[in-house]
Symmetry: C2
Subunit: 440 residues, 2 copies
């Protein structure tokens, strides 16, 4: 069997109490988004499975209604720095918001993580959706959707500039001459923009990857435009092949206007796998999970994602027509489309969302799951997938032990790492330093 040239990329989206709201209750689940021992084993399993990356979401608020995986968790940069010590090949990607952060701090932390991990850092660039975050950051008002994306665009531009502060090889550390670094390889940024002014330089040498990998997850028009301009990977919530294909094609079509090729941006939809040795075992597992979903918590979760309180509507009735929330535009549209397409009752929508939270659910035997992933990958809807196990560690163990070997056998996924950095795994070239380019 000859391997096809194009292979899929795989990430594990880690919410350590599981992606299903009740995943942590399964007998073989281990609880806790603050369980370091569990998280280290998750990273080791994904690395054993030759995954491209370990992906952490994040948020800047919590409360009584928060999902178990999100209510209290490690801060992503410190957690990934720790995992850089217990792993050697897998990429380490953290979500860090551009809405309540400083470009200098964020660029610096990712450069530091890239050095600590020898070139395995990824930054999931997000804007903070929830207006209540403003109350934790001394802000009266939360910026509206399109402005958040304008801020994000400038933020990423600054970070990329700061990463070019030092040319490669600037630190000569010559004991005989006393030259610690070559000052001609140090450059100021002198950024003066609409939202930020950042002089530079960064007090971190150029990251091993040149620039850490940029991931984006926004599916709105400004989100897609930002991704087309700046991202290496797009993580997206798609629940239907045709829509996923349309999203994929639309996003790739935006690339040429930024002088980029189709293979320079990887689209990786989220996948919520429910795996059984048999179809029945998978179905039973999903039913068990759904039996535990607290109706009130599920309602709160769906209300939060829709941006509207739906607790007053009858569960056996149709999904009500709700105005699309400005703050959560792409998410609320996704859910409304899903309900209309499949003619769901509100109760059914709530059950599906509480399970897969709007992502693509694949359910069944390992063979059937591999078939579905192959269909999307070959069908032009995805360059890979961000795997969202309903529970840990078993949900990932099953994927790595049962599904990955099938994908490998079909030549759809690597059987070993061929490079050492996340950029290598993704087949992306290291960006040249702008200052070398300009005077080269």
């Amino acid at each position: 069997m000859t391997e096809p040239k194009r292979q899929m990329h795989l990430g594990v989206f880690v919410q350590a109490a599981g992606h299903h709201v009740a995943g942590w209750r399964l007998p073989d689940a281990e609880a806790g988004s603050e369980n370091l021992d569990l998280i280290k084993r998750i990273a080791a399993t994904a690395e054993r499975g030759k995954f491209d990356l370990f992906f952490l979401a994040d948020g800047l608020t919590t409360g009584k209604d928060a999902h178990p995986s999100m209510v209290a968790r490690f801060e992503p940069m410190t957690l990934l720095a720790a995992l850089a010590m217990s792993t050697s090949r897998i990429g380490l990607a953290a979500t860090v918001s551009t809405t309540y952060g400083e470009p200098f701090h964020v660029a610096r932390a990712f450069s530091s993580l890239d050095h600590l991990s020898q070139g395995r850092a990824g930054w999931n660039v997000v804007t903070t959706s929830y207006a209540r975050s403003a109350a934790n950051f001394s802000r009266g008002a939360h910026p509206e959707h399109d402005e958040r994306y304008a801020i994000a665009r400038e933020f990423v531009e600054i970070a990329k500039g700061l990463w070019d502060s030092w040319e490669d090889g600037a630190f000569v550390m010559d004991k005989s001459t006393g030259a610690y670094f070559d000052p001609s390889k140090l450059h100021l940024l002198e950024h003066e923009g609409k939202y930020f002014s950042v002089k530079g330089p960064l007090n971190s040498s150029r990251p091993p990857q040149g620039h850490p990998i940029i991931i984006q997850a926004g599916s709105s028009d400004p989100g897609q435009e930002l991704a087309a301009e700046t991202a290496d990977v797009v993580f997206t919530a798609q629940a239907d092949l045709e829509e996923a294909k349309a999203f994929y094609d639309g996003l790739k079509a935006r690339l040429p206007r930024y002088g980029r090729r189709s293979d320079q941006l990887h689209v990786m939809p989220g996948v919520f796998p429910v795996i059984g040795r048999t179809e029945q075992e998978a179905l039973d597992k999903l039913k068990l999970l759904q039996s535990w979903a607290d109706p009130a918590a599920s309602l709160a979760l769906v209300s939060e994602r829709l941006g509207h309180d739906i607790s007053g509507y009858p569960m056996d009735g149709p999904v009500p027509e709700l105005p699309l929330s400005d703050q959560l535009r792409s998410r609320s549209k996704l859910l409304a489309d899903l309900a209309r397409r499949e003619n769901l009752t509100l109760g059914e929508l709530v059950a599906i969302v509480a399970s897969a939270r709007g992502h693509w659910m694949v359910r069944g035997t390992p063979e059937r799951i591999a078939d579905q992933l192959e269909a999307w990958f070959v069908g032009g809807a995805a360059d890979g997938f961000n795997i969202m196990p309903p529970y840990f560690p078993g949900g990932l163990d099953d994927f790595v032990d049962l599904v990955v070997p099938i994908l490998q056998e079909r030549g759809l996924f690597r059987t070993d790492y061929t490079g050492s950095t996340l950029r290598d795994h993704l087949g992306l070239t290291r960006p040249e330093n702008r200052h070398v380019r300009s005077h080269g």
Copy 2:
């Protein structure tokens, strides 16, 4: 021999290219503030020496004139998270500024580090001295000295409040009932102050230490007052026993007004040790180091610390009378006092500052160094010391292998750890959660 009840505390102040500006040039020095392998060995050596803590300074700017250890370095929180994985007992303390940060982000990162390290996190609370930092953070003006301390005070108060967001034992994670946490143990902060408004709660459970250890390094009046109110450890630059004693007594005298006892705050001056098997070997090492000190770099360093450009003054003349810089008040006063007391020429002051950077230099055989440390410790000038080796790894190896055993033999320092957290090492009790206290 019976051990005296009171023992000193030891930290290693890590600037990985060495504290001496040319320390990295010694034949057995290894260069690099971005050399993770070296830094891991430094932490392991300090832990083998039973040190209380590993201490990282920080800064938010760099440039052509920066000290080799500071020009490019790891971001402290990510570095310490990595070191939490390669060590098991030693405390891990990072400098993080309150001038260009958000209390929510900082409190969260330290809580995360405390969880990752199982109770070994310390926060060196500083205000950013250098006005040029503002240019990296989109600020037109840098706040003046006293206002920076007012901001710092409110910042620390918020952090302590956020660490009490969750009571101990809040996360019950009961699979049978589905209770992931007990909502009655979750508390909002609702802070509304002069500089910040932070609602909370923190999305991190209560740190293992209750509150990570608070370290302060400011020696100005507002700096000492902040320390008396909030700090567990004070790191200070003292070059003379009598002045160190006066500082020590003055600081301890401030404690009662905050209802605190003398043994609840440890004063740890910085010590720059130049160790030789013989007095001559130590002297030769210092001379070699000083022979490499670049006059221009030394001048720039001293000018920066004084807040005035002294490059125009004759090196063989007296230290000129300079107005005390507001921004760098305590540092510039320290240097002016040192020059007056020892009747130094400007060139001599520059040489000393370029060696020990205003800190206490101890030089000689291990016995002589132990004698000097004992004199300060027993003489009421210190509760311990923050060791600042001129170079790494040899400068620390010598201290741990040659000086520590003498201190241990004299009963002045522990022969093994008796607890597992940094708070344990420092003999400090775990603070009760304010919400438990208030309704208990």
